[in-house]
């Protein structure tokens, strides 16, 4: 039993793996944002103009962090109906976030700003590349949430383990926080 209680105190290996993975992802964005800072101090930098839509998307992803938390609370309390509702809401908010990001970049394009191609400026290309990579990570999160939600609805044996969701939720908060960091960064380091 000694060994058991020792194990109990330890973090689950999969959760631990996720934490290391988040450190790794963070390094990628640290690399990108430092590149941005280096670039910014050089000639022909263009002041970023951040469209309003990005504020909406920021609010969306913050709210989704809240709903995923509610989903987690629900499954811990075995309230499966609420759980399913919050899961679907979260995934939908995630998708909405991605949609808003795309709208934001379209808005930039309509203002005559070239993100890529001839005549593009590195300031905006950075905005696109960094937000795009962030978006891919959000997309991964949306897919993970959907898979968990679908499994919860369809499996024959009733599974009440909150572990997969705990892992997904941690990741979800992470991509949320990452976006907030990037958003502040872009607004501050125009």
């Amino acid at each position: 039993m000694q060994a058991m209680s020792e194990q109990k105190r330890k973090i689950h290996p999969h959760k631990f793996t996720l934490w290391v993975a988040m450190g790794s992802i963070l390094m990628m964005f640290a690399g990108l944002t430092s590149a941005y800072i280096v670039k910014r101090s050089q000639a022909s930098w263009m002041m970023l103009e951040i469209p309003m839509v990005f504020w909406y998307s920021t609010v969306t992803i913050v709210v989704s962090s809240l709903t995923v938390h509610l989903a987690l609370k629900a499954i811990r309390a075995r309230e499966m109906v609420a759980y399913r509702r919050w899961m679907v809401t979260t995934a939908a908010l995630g998708a909405l976030f991605l949609l808003l990001q795309v709208v934001g970049f379209n808005a930039l394009g309509e203002n005559g700003i070239r993100l890529v191609g001839a005549g593009s400026n590195a300031s905006y290309s950075f905005l696109l590349a960094i937000s795009g990579l962030h978006g891919l990570h959000v997309l991964g999160g949306v897919i993970a949430l959907m898979v968990i939600a679908i499994k919860a609805v369809s499996t024959t044996s009733r599974t009440y383990s909150s572990l997969p969701l705990e892992i997904a939720a941690t990741y979800w908060h992470f991509v949320d926080a990452l976006w907030i960091y990037l958003f502040i960064f872009f607004n501050w380091m125009k």
Partner: protein
């Protein structure tokens, strides 16, 4: 996680999942098909072998490329019609074309640095040794581990395919500096081949990250009872730090590669500014090619230690086992690995001394770079002290381990030359650098890898490698490597630049023509002897002398407490408990005391 565990609530589920992991070994007699056993295996031992064999195949390809370009460098005036038969327009008239030469050098570097000495080395030994030496049934996630191999495999397929593209594979050096690599119109090798290179590397990075996450998580979470961190064998410590380096530095390379892909395919200007190619003025403005170098070397320097640390770890273990003496300064060994790890992130700009880097900034990088000599020297001192007056058994593994120490000293000393920014103005991009890194990283890590293969082959396949072939392999490789790379220091000091196809029109380097021919000849001999090793390897898998004893080297670590041919789960019964560190050799009149043996009442302290 077992489905049983899922039924219980949250806290219970966690405990159970560990149990499920532990009970893995008892019952693993259910049928495994060929596919699940050899191909889509989640057994860490099989995955390790997959990495090793894939690595060997890549090493043959990468090594062969070096023979081809050495042919050109050593015999610039000769023509080899068979080359034209083989490579067509790339070797028109039996001589390797400039484009082809650069492609070969680039692929040689990429393949050996990433596919052989990173995936082939870390992938193999991290997989085989971590669970066996920390006392775990398998990795934290067998599935991610399998994915790690298959991403490597995909990366391999893409890279291999790039060799057959009409415009040839990437060619811009293994460091693929823009603007050359960013502009398709700049050279053949910057066309489709470069996109393949980038895609392959992206897959490779994913593979490394998945592997690294697993290694870290397993080492920290799945150690058997009694296996505290300070009782870990140094192999595991080294692999741990390697994984940490990889997890923190590879993503930065990925970000650099993504921006390069943007520049190549979407017309952005991250790295490009004011460029004229073939008379055409490009619209790109405001980019900075130096930015790429920062991103690249922030990975690139840690990468060289990613390659070296596993070799260091295995060498430490093998030297101790075969000297029948405890490792000298265990904690200093761990501490110096840690110091190397930290410093590895702080010295990348020593590759950029001549890029117009602010000399004031350069001074800091000189200081930090030279600081690496301190932990390196500690390690060398401890290795030498470990074998000093030991009861040495000159097994092939031991010879390669000693060879490693010799090479590490030789190559480390030239690093100190290069680390001085003023000297580097002269030495940068000459053969002196080529000599430095081939000795200290290339050959040394290969020696670590060979040492590991010779030492753990009995555990992997239940048979021994042939000793006669092993001794030939060792001596020819050791002598040959020094003969190849030592002379390069001289031509490098004389200013002979690297990455040139032909120096014969260059009066000042004509004096080295004989030397170059000599180097090329030795290179071919050394390559042939590596094929002997490959033969020995595959022959011995099937026909080697069988291992009869569970612990053939009389070693203390846990892998030798498993059956001679361990199944999935490693130990048929319970995982043994650990009572001591791994280096009780020659203690209290006993030759070795396994980690599983309880500490006796009257035992002396180590």
């Amino acid at each position: 996680m077992s489905s049983e565990a899922i039924k219980h609530g949250h806290a219970v589920a966690e405990v159970h999942s560990h149990d499920a992991h532990d009970s893995h070994g008892h019952d693993h007699h259910h049928e495994e098909s060929f596919l699940t056993k050899y191909i889509f295996s989640t057994d860490h031992k099989m995955i390790g072998k997959q990495f090793l064999i894939t690595g060997i195949i890549w090493a043959i390809i990468g090594g062969l490329f070096s023979v081809l370009f050495r042919l050109q460098l050593g015999y610039p005036e000769m023509s080899f019609p068979f080359l034209e038969d083989l490579f067509g327009k790339w070797a028109a008239g039996g001589r390797i074309s400039n484009d082809f030469y650069y492609a070969l050098v680039t692929m040689h570097g990429t393949i050996l640095v990433f596919f052989v000495l990173t995936a082939g080395l870390s992938g193999t030994f991290a997989n085989i040794l971590i669970p066996l030496q920390v006392g775990a049934r398998d990795m934290a996630s067998g599935f991610l581990n399998m994915l790690s191999y298959w991403f490597f495999f995909l990366a391999s397929v893409v890279m291999f395919a790039s060799l057959f593209i009409q415009t040839g594979p990437a060619s811009g050096g293994w460091t693929i500096y823009p603007p050359l690599s960013a502009l398709g119109q700049a050279s053949e090798g910057s066309k489709l081949g470069m996109d393949f290179w980038l895609i392959s590397m992206a897959l490779f990075i994913v593979s490394s990250l998945l592997g690294g996450l697993n290694y870290i998580s397993t080492i920290l979470n799945l150690r058997t009872k009694g296996m505290s961190m300070t009782r870990l064998p140094l192999t595991i410590w080294a692999i741990f730090f390697t994984a940490v380096l990889g997890v923190l530095s590879f993503p930065v390379l990925l970000s650099g590669a993504v921006l390069l892909l943007f520049d190549r395919n979407l017309g952005t200007s991250f790295y490009l500014s004011d460029i004229v190619v073939k008379g055409e003025i490009l619209p790109n403005e405001g980019g900075s090619a130096i930015l790429f170098q920062h991103l690249f070397w922030f990975l690139g320097h840690p990468e060289v230690y990613i390659i070296l640390l596993p070799a260091m770890g295995m060498v430490s273990e093998i030297l101790s086992v075969n000297s029948r003496k405890p490792i000298f300064g265990y904690l200093a060994m761990v501490g110096s690995l840690f110091a190397i790890c930290i410093l590895a992130f702080l010295v990348w700009a020593h590759h950029m001394f001549v890029t117009g880097l602010n000399p004031f900034l350069g001074a800091f990088f000189v200081l930090l770079t030279l600081l690496i000599a301190v932990p390196s020297a500690i390690k060398v001192f401890n290795w030498l002290t470990t074998i000093w007056r030991g009861n040495i058994r000159f097994t092939p593994a031991m010879l390669f381990a000693i060879g490693f120490v010799s090479l590490f000293i030789s190559g480390g000393l030239t690093g100190i030359f290069l680390g001085n920014s003023t000297l580097d103005i002269h030495l940068h991009d000459t053969y002196f650098v080529v000599a430095h890194f081939h000795i200290v990283m290339g050959v040394a890590s290969f020696f670590g890898m060979f040492a590991g293969v010779y030492h753990w082959f009995p555990k992997m396949y239940g048979r021994y490698l042939n000793n006669t072939m092993a001794y030939i392999h060792f001596w020819v490789t050791l002598v040959g490597s020094y003969l190849i790379f030592w002379p390069m220091h001289y031509s490098g000091l004389a200013g002979m630049p690297r990455r040139y196809t032909d120096w014969s029109n260059w009066q000042s380097f004509n004096q080295f023509a004989d030397m170059n021919r000599f180097i090329s000849t030795v290179a071919m001999v050394v390559f042939a002897v590596q094929l002997l090793f490959v033969f020995n390897f595959f022959y011995s898998i099937f026909k080697g002398r069988k291992v009869k004893s569970q612990n053939p080297w009389g070693a203390n670590t846990l892998e030798w407490t498993t059956p001679i041919n361990p199944g999935h789960g490693n130990w048929p019964g319970d995982i043994p408990e650990v009572h001591r560190w791994a280096y009780d050799y020659g203690k209290d009149g006993r030759e070795f005391i396994p980690q599983t043996e309880a500490v006796g009442e009257h035992e002396s302290k180590h």
